[in-house]
């Protein structure tokens, strides 16, 4: 039951090693999500989303500020996104589900950026058709989650560049190659498209302000590996007269293997939203757990939910507080065996996928409705 102790690496392109979230807060200079902030959120939402209560979203920048603004009558917009290099796995859905909760509770517009340009520039082996294909496929997953079409716009970088470029060059003018190197680890061999790209990812944080002609606060819910982009964005904001975007950062959803976040590059340990539900079930049945070597031993000593990928899925996505508390107790006490847990999760995953895939099918007809068009007023 050893865990992965290799050095932690967290960048927008790589997340490996055992993740120490307290260290990330210190290293990145963000703030932990305090009970005080959660209390403020609860005032407006009535209930706390489990992802907040469980500190799956665990860190922030200026979330207190944006809540104060909200209480003073100033609505905020949400901004998050997706790099379309392959199918979406259910780990990706975690922050999107939370983003929908914020949209519902705060009546917030969402800008969702699909960075097909970045994925094309980053992957030597990609032609433009791969990111274009996955951009469409990934958008279906977003739409399937039930985002409000009146309050949600999907930005597709290569399709919307007429609306983004003016802001992108304003941002780019304030970012030297030397800064981009230091923040993103760019090298001399980095192509000039990637060098420019951070300016493109910064744009949606200011887009609403630009479109309506006055400053509108922006909150970015995303996994913490995207933080370097927001550091650049926040540095530039005051130089252009914009508010700095606030952020709320989530943890990485683990894969079904021994360690590491769920990753499309390890398909056997990731549950894709387009997986055949039967196949997904089998992946769960092969998942790494916190179980003991023998059933006898497990009954006597109990198992370890803290390193168990099955427990993690129940925790991140599927169980309510009572269920997860019971499961944790029974696991530690040796009252439940891994096979049973896996089977239950496999059934939940199967059920989830069947339902989600039906919604994805319906989303195909609604894709255009969600696409950003700078000429719409919305």
């Amino acid at each position: 039951m050893s865990v992965n102790n290799e050095e932690m690496v967290v960048t927008p392109w790589e997340v490996t090693g055992k993740i120490d979230y307290d260290k990330l807060i210190r290293d990145f200079g963000t703030q932990p999500l305090t009970s005080e902030i959660l209390d403020t959120i609860r005032k407006h939402t009535g209930e706390l989303h489990p992802q907040l209560a469980r500190r799956i979203f665990f860190s922030h920048r200026d979330l207190d500020w944006i809540l104060h603004r909200y209480e003073a009558g100033e609505k905020f917009v949400l901004y998050t996104g997706r790099g379309p290099s392959g199918p979406v796995h259910i780990g990706h859905l975690v922050p999107w589900i939370f983003t929908k909760y914020l949209q519902d509770k705060f009546g917030a517009k969402l800008y969702f950026q699909i960075t097909d340009d970045e994925r094309f520039l980053q992957h030597d082996e990609f032609s433009m058709s791969e990111p274009a294909k996955w951009a469409f496929e990934n958008a279906l997953d977003l739409i399937a989650l039930g985002f409000d079409p009146k309050k949600t716009r999907i930005i597709l970088d290569t399709k919307n560049m007429d609306a983004l470029y003016g802001l992108a060059i304003k941002i780019a003018k304030h970012v030297t190659f030397s800064t981009a190197k230091a923040v993103f680890g760019f090298r001399e061999s980095t192509n000039i498209g990637m060098a420019f790209y951070p300016a493109v990812q910064a744009v949606p944080a200011f887009l609403e302000s630009q479109l309506v002609g006055h400053n509108v606060p922006c909150l970015i819910p995303a996994a913490i590996d995207q933080d370097p982009y927001w550091r650049i964005t926040r540095d530039v904001a005051p130089k252009l007269g914009f508010y700095k975007p606030a952020q709320i950062h989530c943890r990485f959803v683990p894969g079904l293997g021994r360690a590491g976040k769920m990753s499309a590059s390890m398909p056997e340990t990731a549950i894709f939203t387009i997986d055949n539900p039967q196949r997904a079930k089998k992946k769960v049945m092969s998942a790494f757990t916190g179980g003991r070597a023998t059933i006898e031993e497990q009954k006597r000593l109990g198992a370890n939910p803290d390193i168990c990928s099955v427990f993690a899925y129940d925790y991140f996505l599927f169980m309510n507080d009572k269920e997860i508390e019971d499961l944790r107790y029974n696991c530690l006490a040796g009252n439940i065996m891994c096979g049973e847990c896996k089977l239950k999760l496999a059934e939940r995953v199967e059920e989830f996928l069947i339902e989600h895939q039906a919604k994805r099918e319906k989303a195909k007809d609604r894709f255009e409705e969600y696409l950003f068009n700078p000429k719409d007023s919305w």
Copy 2:
């Protein structure tokens, strides 16, 4: 009558020192314009434009190739442009006038790129409004020259980025920061917008091929200082399956001062197309000439047309072969004094500006007609 002997510097952003055009051909690795090529051109045009006969266009890359293609029935497109950082001076018109001749004689479409993004990114003191203003003003000068509206499209970078960005990132993916540094002299302190920009300037060379779905040869008439852009463009072309763009390079039009090309940064020695014609006349009357210290001396020894800015204007823009030959003879022989020459040029400039400005006024209503729209078929 000393001339400027400081070291020659020729980059897209700086042209200083005494220009040695033979050295530029060697340094840049281009080809001189031979009599053989001019003969081929004459076959198709009937007459040679004075800018060819006088070798104002003096150097090329693959012009012979593009003429062979033309003779085999493959039409080429033209591509040139303008960085809108201020008013156009009559030096800028020289290659545009030649481009119109090529359009007329070869029935060629022209893509004219106005690089408002580059000028914004390059000049610290510029907001977006300066390049936007000059983009419009400069376009009027182009239209006033009589380009065929059915065969001419003006690309405004910030307005047309939806049509340019897909190609720009394909190009950018093949250009490392290290290459861009070596070719353009970029530094660590260069902003990431400028780092990306060479890819944007490369796009129109491939745009026609992209739009029609098969390779179309492209000829770029421009002053030779833009050559670094075309070196990058030519390097990338085969990697994307496009023809390398051919080029034909012109000399720099001198200013009215002692040396150096006409430059908007020295307004007293540049004749702007929007100058009051009376004021332009005065500028000419203060021009640097190749005259002697006294009239007596000049009558005895003759003057020097080769360093004379007044003679240069007659040569670049205003006189036919017979006139320029007579003027040269009479100048060397001491038969004509500088005051008389300046007065004649001043009158020609005045007349030209009055006529050009009337055409510029009419162009204001036709601006939209020339704007590139990827959805038009033209």
